[in-house]
């Protein structure tokens, strides 16, 4: 098929303009969508954090009764679900939204309206999940919701139905993000931006989207199968009727292991952006970094039964998956050594962003080493389902993902909001989070090795566990203090006028060539990319300005639309129909959804044109 020429349309034809809050609800601008992803992620983080604090209070002393055992089940389940699906992924996808199009020199993503739909499916899906609280029954079968435990016979409340349908809804959104950014990165790079010239954050986004594309369908199928079991009386996981007790675990972890790379690879990318900027050196081993990302992604689909070592699959299966699991340490080690080599001999600036990036390295190594310990199948039978596992995955998910996300927040804040976060508060924030994190989670290695199982609501005295739990609880409150300082820093910063310079860190990638925040159309003229670290190159070897790849002229923009929000809303309402076993509500809103999708398929958006102001770009 030939490329479709852009249509000739008069300036501001047909497209409606929205103001105030409506301009956010109807936006199709990737930068605003990124901002909303991150704010919504921080909002859900408050819930997930509060759940964690109640868990820590309950475990402060033996035989404690802060909450009942049933409530405790709901707390650890919702803590896990929230932190993975409603905090880690959305915040990272938010940064990908806000930054990747700028880094490749594009004006927007490939499908702007679908991008808005992804956002609203995540936001409304998350609220749907939490609304289970109003129905008196939150999900309580653990974040991986193992069947048959989560089947009707053993989990009678509506909680698991909310889990099944809520995660399907937000999962559709994530899958669409995957398709959108794969096409954006492959098809919409500026002239000269070859694959091996892309910044590593964009590389990590590309690989993450590939993982999403192949990992989310299996979890969707799993959730559908269980929904059929629970709502329509199917027998997929009902062992007495021929169902399988292992099917859920297989399908879940075929998704679940790539999922942990979905939330760590973008953090790898963030670290690879920040370390060269604040070490004032070129990233060491660029090609091997991109290669390592691809190899990790490939291997991540071959390790899922290391989550099932205790299922009794036999020595052959366990050995095979132990080996593939340990293999992942090779590309990961390459990345760690490349970061260290980048730092070697550099002129290091200890900004808040850099402190977070630097802390990532040792914390992730600790999580990686305990991961290797867990990958040894015979040893895993000892560690399995103990606090050692809890310590391990918090070192990779908190010490890795969240430290990376906070580094990104300090680093890209000026580019997204036009303001600089306060560096002094930033350092208080960093040190309290760093110390609080280690005080909370390091003792869990020990309580785990002392035999404390995860997910127990209380414990008897005399096991030697009490002191380690008390240290963990103290650490959790130090963490809380650190996060409250971040909140204070955010509020303080938003009260200041937007006066951030275009390039506060002397950055290397294209986003720093734009004003802070970037203009609506991103680039007044599509840039011509002449090498790796494109903006740095122009600053060092050119005149500090990007070469344009096109003459100046009016820029075509997609129209804002409320349709994505409308589609997401009817899907969620149909979800309520399913949970409440109401064919009428479910059917009605499903029909409305398809009517809207039909309209979207036929829609022909003529968009509008804007003429960039002279000097809209930096310098």
């Amino acid at each position: 098929m030939a490329a479709i020429p852009e249509r000739l349309v008069a300036v501001h034809s047909e497209s409606r303009t929205y103001t105030g809050i409506w301009s956010w609800l109807a936006t199709v601008d990737h930068k605003r969508i990124g901002i909303m992803y991150i704010l919504a992620g921080l909002f859900f983080m408050a819930f997930g954090g509060a759940e964690a604090l109640i868990i820590r209070l309950q475990l402060w002393a033996p035989n404690s009764h802060v909450v009942s055992a049933e409530t405790f089940n709901q707390l650890f389940t919702m803590h896990g679900v929230t932190m993975i699906f409603l905090v880690a992924m959305p915040i990272l996808i938010g940064f990908i939204n806000a930054i990747v199009p700028l880094q490749i020199g594009a004006r927007d993503v490939a499908f702007p309206r679908m991008n808005a739909l992804s956002l609203w499916l995540f936001v409304l899906g998350g609220l749907f999940l939490y609304s289970s609280f109003l129905f008196g029954s939150m999900p309580d079968a653990g974040w991986f919701n193992n069947a048959p435990l989560s089947e009707l016979a053993f989990s009678k409340g509506l909680g698991v139905d909310f889990y099944d349908i809520g995660l399907q809804i937000s999962g559709f959104g994530t899958l669409m993000t995957g398709i959108n950014f794969l096409v954006t990165i492959l098809n919409m790079r500026a002239p000269g931006m070859r694959l091996l010239r892309m910044p590593l954050f964009t590389w990590s986004a590309l690989i993450t989207m590939l993982l999403i594309l192949f990992a989310f369908p299996p979890i969707t199928v799993n959730l559908i199968l269980q929904m059929f079991d629970r709502l329509f009386g199917a027998n997929f996981f009902v062992v007495g009727n021929g169902g399988s007790a292992l099917l859920w675990q297989n399908l879940f972890w075929i998704f679940g292991h790539p999922e942990v790379y979905i939330v760590i690879l973008p953090a790898f990318g963030i670290i690879s952006e920040i370390i060269p900027v604040f070490a004032k050196k070129v990233l060491f081993g660029y090609e091997s970094m991109a290669m390592a990302l691809s190899v990790i992604a490939f291997l991540s689909f071959m390790v899922w039964t290391h989550h099932m070592f205790a299922d009794g699959l036999g020595p052959v299966v366990n050995s095979l998956f132990a080996i593939t699991s340990m293999l992942i340490a090779v590309p990961t080690g390459i990345k760690i050594f490349n970061w260290l080599a980048t730092l070697w001999g550099g002129k290091i600036h200890f900004t808040s962003a850099m402190l977070y990036a630097l802390s990532f390295i040792p914390l992730f190594v600790i999580g990686g080493v305990s991961g290797i310990m867990l990958a040894m199948a015979p040893a895993d039978l000892q560690y399995n389902d103990s606090y050692f596992v809890v310590a391990h995955f918090h070192y990779v998910l908190f010490g890795g993902t969240l430290m990376g996300a906070l580094a990104a927040l300090y680093y890209w804040f000026p580019k997204m909001w036009g303001r600089m976060l306060n560096e002094k508060l930033g350092k208080w924030n960093f040190w309290l989070v760093f110390i609080g994190f280690n005080v909370t989670f390091f003792p869990m290695h020990i309580s785990g090795l002392l035999g404390m199982p995860r997910r127990i609501s209380t414990y008897a005295p005399g096991n030697g566990w009490t002191i380690w739990n008390q240290i963990s609880t103290i650490g959790a409150f130090i963490l809380l203090a650190g996060m409250l300082i971040l909140l204070y820093n955010l509020i303080q910063t938003f009260l200041h006028p937007a006066d951030a310079p275009a390039d506060p860190w002397d950055g290397r990638a294209l986003e720093w060539s734009l004003t802070s925040p970037a203009p609506e159309y991103n680039f007044a003229q599509t840039p011509l990319v002449r090498g790796r670290d494109a903006y740095w190159l122009e600053k060092r070897e050119g005149d500090g300005k990007l070469q344009p790849a096109e003459p100046a002229g009016p820029i075509h923009m997609p129209s804002p639309s409320l349709a994505p929000l409308g589609i997401a809303l009817t899907i969620v309402l149909a979800g309520y129909g399913a949970v409440l076993h109401s064919t009428i509500i479910g059917g009605l809103f499903l029909l409305l959804t398809f009517v809207q999708i039909g309209r979207a398929l036929l829609a022909e958006d003529h968009g509008f044109h804007v003429t960039p102001h002279v000097g809209g770009e930096a310098q």
Partner: protein, 204 residues
Amino acid sequence: MSTQTHVAVHAAPATELQLPKDNRVLGLWVFLAGECAFFASLIGTYLGLHTATLHGPTGQQIFDLPLTTIATLILLSSSLTVVLGVQAMQRRDARGMQIWLWITALLGLFFLEFQGYEFYTFYNSGLTLHTSAFGSAFFTLTGFHGLHVLFGVFWILLLLFQSVKHGINEERTSKVFVMSLYWHFVDVVWVVLFTLVYLAGKVG
């Protein structure tokens, strides 16, 4: 003005050959890759559970191969008719395209009618979603394929409606082409299901 700008983009001294720029076509290919993972998961589930028939009927007992073969031929020939439709569209023959798309949608509907009849007879011979894990897996796998066909039929009808009302232009051309890719994919999935579910199931 805008067209000139656009031409100039391509005339700029790019240092490499750019990929084709139609996002919609690449987007659909990427979507189909995800669909492969979706059907692979469903097929894997079916293969894991198809022997768990309990006291209910087995596939060997109830599959009606001649009927399924006819349905398969109907669905596969719709891949030919959709290609003829796209070719007519490329010749800017709006009427030819509409006729072939009508035929494609009708063939899809015939296939769905077969599937409805099949589900009905299986139901009468005692196989339901509740009977056994085999029943659950069979109806879910073939049912999701049927839903894909149904969605494709609606998609074709929408595009027909639009082309009758507004004729062919370049953007709509790309929409029809993308739909045809989807339609081929749904047909290819059926080839896999016909082999793994019906042929292998009949052999036992």
